[in-house]
């Protein structure tokens, strides 16, 4: 896995020279946490945005925010859950911003400049289903959407998802049930 060296080497050396081992140890721990959980942050963002470039940008922002605000986190064992929430929240914000921008541009764009609509023949069946699924996911409440994404990421179980989110397993099951029902009704 790729190494993430976020702190400046000089800073680390100075901290060590000053005997501030605890401080530099915390920085190293934080960097390790960020490196380990960066893929998760990216996939959570991707589950919301479905655009790799946007998801990468959001994941970067989530990592930076987590690094800057790490001192607000009282329990470092909750880091994974915390980062997931940061990434999800940023992705939702980005999605809404993108939608507003698209609506604005669509409203003002010349009809002749708009791309021609794709015919059903062009769209493959699987792609069509993916598009319908994506639209249905967008209509899910945030809590259910996050649970659906997390269970899909690397096949997380209900218990693992509950541990990531820091909520009881029953809550995850309930959200999953409601989300699946909603999607099934939308996609049937």
């Amino acid at each position: 896995m790729q190494e993430l060296v976020l702190s400046q080497p000089g800073k680390l050396l100075a901290a060590t020279a000053a005997g501030d081992a605890a401080k530099s140890g915390a920085l190293v721990e934080l960097e390790q946490l960020l490196t380990d959980n960066a893929p998760l942050a990216y996939r959570v963002a991707l589950g919301v945005l479905r655009n790799p470039a946007e998801a990468e940008d959001v994941a970067q922002e989530a990592l930076l925010r987590a690094y800057r605000r790490f001192h607000f986190l009282r329990n470092s064992e909750r880091f994974r859950s915390w980062l997931v929430r940061i990434s999800f929240r940023l992705a939702i914000d980005r999605l809404r911003s993108l939608r507003r921008r698209i609506e604005r541009e669509t409203r003002w764009a010349e009809p002749g400049l708009r791309p021609p609509p794709q015919s059903t023949e062009v769209v493959a069946a699987s792609n069509e289903f993916q598009a319908r699924l994506a639209r249905a996911l967008d209509d899910l409440p945030d809590g259910q959407r996050l649970v659906m994404s997390l269970t899909a990421i690397e096949g997380n179980s209900v218990d693992e998802t509950a541990a990531i989110l820091g909520v009881p397993a029953g809550t995850v099951k309930s959200r999953l049930f409601k989300a699946r029902k909603f999607l099934m009704e939308k996609l049937r």
């Binding site: 960066a38 990592l63 899909a152 049937r188």
Partner: protein, 230 residues
């Protein structure tokens, strides 16, 4: 169990992620081809949803993500926690509150210029006009209190000796005393108003003033001229 109830049951079971049906729906769908087909459709749909979602999210993280994050972080230095900020903020807040409180207490007293106020009393019970009730031992300001401290209000109780000796007592604010003295000094030039006074303006500011019960037939309210203390 009819088909509708069975299909609702199957729908909920599939949505809940159950791999098997309970006894009754299971028996029904084995004997009902339509319900069996419905069940298989729902199972396929959930599989498609799960696989579609997995395909959507389980993509490899771009290699550039961490490198770019590192670059961005070196440009934006980390903000270390500092409890000193909280302490500084608390001290500043306390000083601000204290300053506001002192300013509030020491602010100039602004009373409404109401005609119904009477802050001057005579301690001579013998000459007390009928219907004028005076406090027996101490003189109080009869103006309505607002509950606010004024900081410079010179309200003092009349000493028992002064009251017993029958001398007149004037209890009045310094500013009002000056304004009243000026008002009285100007009265000789206003003969119509001067009819209400028992005698002309006192020479000294501290001199007692007799106030008789006035019969006011016409009143014109004017703001007092500002004095030095105002």
């Amino acid at each position: 169990m009819n088909c509708k109830a069975c299909q609702e049951n199957m729908f909920d079971a599939v949505a809940a992620g159950a791999t098997t049906l309970s006894d009754e729906p299971s028996a029904h769908q084995q004997s009902c081809p339509a319900c069996r087909e419905y069940y298989e459709l729902q199972v396929d749909l959930v599989r498609s949803i799960d696989s579609g979602l997995q395909a959507m999210v389980n993509q490899e993280m771009p290699a550039s993500l961490l490198a770019v994050a590192r670059n961005r972080l070196t440009q934006q230095p980390i903000v270390q926690p500092s409890w000193n900020y909280l302490g500084t903020f608390a001290v500043l807040a306390a000083v601000t509150i204290l300053a506001i409180s002192i300013g509030y207490i020491r602010r100039p007293n602004v009373y409404p210029n109401s005609g119904g106020s009477a802050s001057v009393y005579s301690g001579d019970k013998g000459n007390q006009a009928p219907g004028l009730q005076l406090p027996p031992k101490s003189v109080i300001d009869s103006r309505p209190r607002t509950g606010k401290r004024t900081g410079f209000l010179s309200l003092q109780p009349v000493s028992s000796e002064a009251t017993a000796g029958g001398s007149h007592q004037v209890i009045v604010l310094v500013e009002e005393q000056r304004a009243f003295a000026k008002f009285v000094a100007d009265l000789p030039r206003e003969p119509k108003i001067a009819q209400a006074l028992t005698r002309p303006a006192p020479v000294a500011l501290d001199a007692p003033v007799d106030i008789a019960l006035l019969r006011i037939e016409h009143m014109e309210l004017k703001p007092l001229e500002s004095t030095q203390g105002e």
